[in-house]
Point group: C2
Chain length 337, copies 2
């Protein structure tokens, strides 16, 4: 995937900061690619980079406008089309992580053709996937799983890639969602593949590798989310993880987008082992990652300490305190040969 | 969906009878729509209807050639294209239940355009689906679940629709796969929707209904199948079944298409209740349906009696002995108001 950098991030009228998590993810992990953000009236997200018009962004070198806001269903609201057309007319390519193809919207297709610009549908893969086979592959795999959507699975996986590499191990982040694909410039949004191929996509993403190589696979959704659990299960089966980390947002009270209570961390551990054992009977939980962004430092340290003690596992916030204890636990359980 | 009847069923070079289960399903449930079958050299399936050339089928009134053979991955082998083009040239429409769109194959698209024929991609729905919400809907629902793919879930559901209607209840078969869609002329192949929408498709398929109305929903795959369990889980969550029937083929030793052992019926009951409780805590197993086609009558009766006794549930072969005991059990547990 060749998306020209740097980017202007379009936040639209995101209803809350989590709705702009694609933009925020690119800013947090690839700040050097982002010249600014473009927000519409009513936008409730802010990535804390300069607010720029399309023209000002181009003056700062922007080559592509990345639509950094998503919603359940992955549709493109009609009132965003004018901004996208204006970006194309002004000389920017456009990339999105929505389910809908940009080129399927006539005004956008026409503007791209007229101005010779590229459209990137990051969520939609052109790979011809096989169905999953369940056959064991060489190499080690870690999957981040969640009590919910949007609770830190991608950040934990990206931080673990860094942490494992810093510890001298071979490790690769494997993106399974549109933001991860934008950040790592490879991968497949598994929630956008045809349903029969979820496990097959996970197998394709994480092929056989050296025996001591870690694939750190970005999890999706939750086995307990009534909208998306099928994606989570197929990803778990295809990933065949040797190890997993449970990700959780301790201040959330209902699951994202639906009126369902959150499962407990222990329920997620138990179900992940029960389901994951189908393709890897040795699957084990090696730790917990909490997203404590909503808490002050004292409250964060208290909940991290308490949660770790309750479960007898290392418990970190990958952003606030880093993944050191998770890397140590992984090395302890899977010693280098 | 308007597919002109009657049909010539194309079996290609199906590697075994199960590979032609789409054709066999249409023959078994809609024999009056089928004038004959067309088989290529090497075909190991036989639907026991007349072998006809395209011309002979047209002479008997055929309007559409239905590709009645499927494979894991849902691709169209290149050596079938000539037969499909010949059917179009001779005046037949063509329908398939594959993942690939017929119109995406240039020779087929061109032949259809030249001869003014229709192409039907039964597995691919044009419905714009919502994501699943998990909200409880009025009406009663029964889902057939399986120890494996291709073990009798669709036949059990179709037989239950008939049996419930014969008992005076309101009941509708809800098709979730290409063969079910061909038979019932409505529904959605849930294995072919974008992964984020599996549960949403199941909710769409089985909308709110009268309090004593039964939707009998065709199951897909198995929660224990390493290729397709994600589809099975999303379908279970979206269907919110009040009742389920476990379907099983008692002579099978490994799961279809992969080297995995079959789960036990009890494992399927326990996991279906554990997973299904997320969207319907009152979910219960009301019986077992065995596909005993491979057994003689005495062996079939023995395994039915033994399996029912082991699990304390009614156990039938819906085709060999009918679904009477399942209907009775459903009426006992869900008495009419």
């Amino acid at each position: 995937m060749q998306i020209h950098k740097p980017y202007l991030l379009f936040l639209g009228d995101a209803r809350d900061p989590l709705a702009a998590k694609t933009a925020q993810g690119v800013v947090d992990w690839r700040a050097e690619w982002c010249v600014g953000q473009l927000r519409l009236p009513g936008c409730n997200a802010d990535c804390r980079i300069p607010d720029l018009t399309i023209e000002a962004a181009i003056a700062r070198g922007a080559r592509t406008m990345v639509v950094g806001v998503a919603n359940a269903g992955g549709v493109l609201p009609g009132h965003w089309v004018a901004t996208i057309v204006a970006a194309l007319a002004a000389g920017l390519d456009v990339a999105t992580g929505l389910h809908v193809r940009l080129g399927s919207i006539p005004a956008i297709a026409e503007a791209a053709a007229r101005h010779g610009r590229q459209l990137h549908d990051v969520r939609i893969s052109d790979v011809v996937l096989p169905t999953g086979k369940g056959t064991k592959r060489a190499g080690l795999r870690l999957l981040t799983v969640g009590t919910d959507c949007s609770c830190g699975k991608k950040y934990a996986a990206l931080a673990l890639e860094r942490g494992l590499r810093a510890a001298g191990l071979q490790a690769d982040f494997r993106a399974t969602g549109q933001t991860g694909v934008l950040i790592s410039e490879r991968g497949i949004a598994v929630d956008a593949v045809v349903a029969d191929f979820i496990a097959g996509a996970a197998e394709w993403l994480s092929p056989a590798n050296a025996p001591d190589h870690w694939d750190v696979i970005e999890g999706q959704g939750s086995l307990f989310h009534p909208s998306f659990a099928g994606v989570s299960l197929g990803l778990l089966h295809g990933s065949q993880p040797d190890a997993f980390v449970v990700c959780h947002e301790p201040t959330r009270t209902t699951m994202r987008g639906v009126q369902f209570p959150l499962p407990t961390i222990q329920q997620v551990i138990d179900r992940t082992i029960a389901d994951g054992a189908l393709t890897n009977p040795a699957i084990q939980c090696i730790g917990i990652a909490l997203n404590t962004e909503a808490l002050d430092d004292a409250a964060a340290r208290e909940v991290l300490e308490r949660t770790g003690r309750q479960h007898g596992l290392p418990c970190v916030d990958p952003i606030r305190i880093g993944v050191g204890p998770l890397v140590d636990e992984l090395l302890r359980r899977f010693p280098r040969r």
